[in-house]
C-alpha cells in the first residue's frame, strides 16, 4: 500500500514530505520501526505520529492512502 508522510519541526529538516510504499506493514508500531530503519536519525528522537490528522495514542491500523504525520515535541505558546 501507499501512504503519505508529512513531517514537521526539526524532523522536517531531514525527512521530506513524501509518498511511501509499504509492504507487510499494518499498524503504527510496525511503521515506527520501518521509519527508524529508513531514517536512522529518527530513532534517537522523541516524536509522535498522527494518522489522518488524529494523534496516535495506541497502536493503530494503517490503511492504503492514509496520511501519517511525524511530529517532534510541541513547542507552541
Amino acid at each position: 500500500m501507499e501512504i503519505e508522510i508529512i513531517s514537521f519541526g526539526k524532523i522536517a529538516e531531514f525527512l521530506q514530505n513524501q509518498e511511501l510504499q509499504l509492504e507487510g506493514i499494518v499498524d503504527t508500531e510496525q511503521l515506527r520501526e520501518h521509519l527508524e530503519n529508513k531514517f536512522p536519525r529518527l530513532s534517537s528522537m522523541k516524536y509522535k505520529l498522527a494518522v489522518n490528522k488524529k494523534l496516535v495514542q495506541v497502536n493503530t491500523l494503517i490503511n492504503n492512502n492514509d496520511s501519517v504525520a511525524i511530529m517532534p515535541p510541541f513547542s507552541g505558546g
Binding site: 498522527a50 510541541f74 507552541g76 505558546g77
Partner: protein
C-alpha cells in the same frame, strides 16, 4: 460531533497591542461580564551558549491544531461558566519582545475566567502541534522545547 464552526486561531506575524486593545474594547457591550483574564506569551531574548535568540519562527500542522483547539474550546466551555474565550497564536517570524500568544477569557465572576485562561495555556502548549524554531543573531537556530 459538534456542529460548531472551527475557528482559526492563527495569525501571521506578531500580535499587536492594538489588536489586543480592540479585542478588550469589544467586550464593553457585554455587561454580564465582571472579570477578564488574559495571558500573553512574549518571545524572550534568551542567551544560549553565548548566542542571543533574536526571533522564534513558528510553524504548525494547521488542520490538526485547529481541530484539537476546537476540542479544547468545547471542553473548556463545558467545564467553566465563561461568557467569552479568544485564542490567537502567531505563525512565522516573531522577534524577541513581540507577542506570539494571546488567550482571553471572560466570566461574570473572576474565578472561572482565571482558571480557564490558565488551563487553556497549559493545554495549548502541551497538545497543539506547533513548533518554535529559535533563531539566533548569527542566523543559526535551535528548536524550542516546552517544559
Amino acid at each position: 460531533m459538534s456542529e460548531k464552526k472551527i475557528k482559526n486561531i492563527f495569525v501571521n506575524g506578531p500580535i499587536s497591542s492594538a489588536f489586543i486593545a480592540e479585542s478588550i474594547a469589544k467586550h464593553s457591550t457585554k455587561t454580564a461580564i465582571g472579570g477578564h483574564s488574559i495571558f500573553m506569551g512574549q518571545v524572550r531574548a534568551d542567551e544560549i551558549e553565548g548566542k542571543t535568540v533574536s526571533a522564534i519562527e513558528y510553524t504548525t500542522f494547521e488542520d490538526a491544531a485547529l481541530e484539537k483547539m476546537h476540542e479544547i474550546r468545547e471542553e473548556i466551555f463545558e467545564k467553566y461558566p465563561l461568557n467569552c474565550m479568544h485564542v490567537h497564536h502567531s505563525l512565522g517570524n516573531i522577534k524577541n519582545g513581540e507577542i506570539c500568544l494571546f488567550v482571553f477569557t471572560s466570566s461574570a465572576h473572576r474565578k472561572p475566567a482565571i482558571d480557564a485562561c490558565t488551563e487553556i495555556v497549559e493545554r495549548l502548549k502541551a497538545e497543539l502541534p506547533i513548533w518554535g524554531k529559535e533563531i539566533f543573531e548569527d542566523n543559526t537556530h535551535q528548536w524550542k522545547e516546552n517544559k
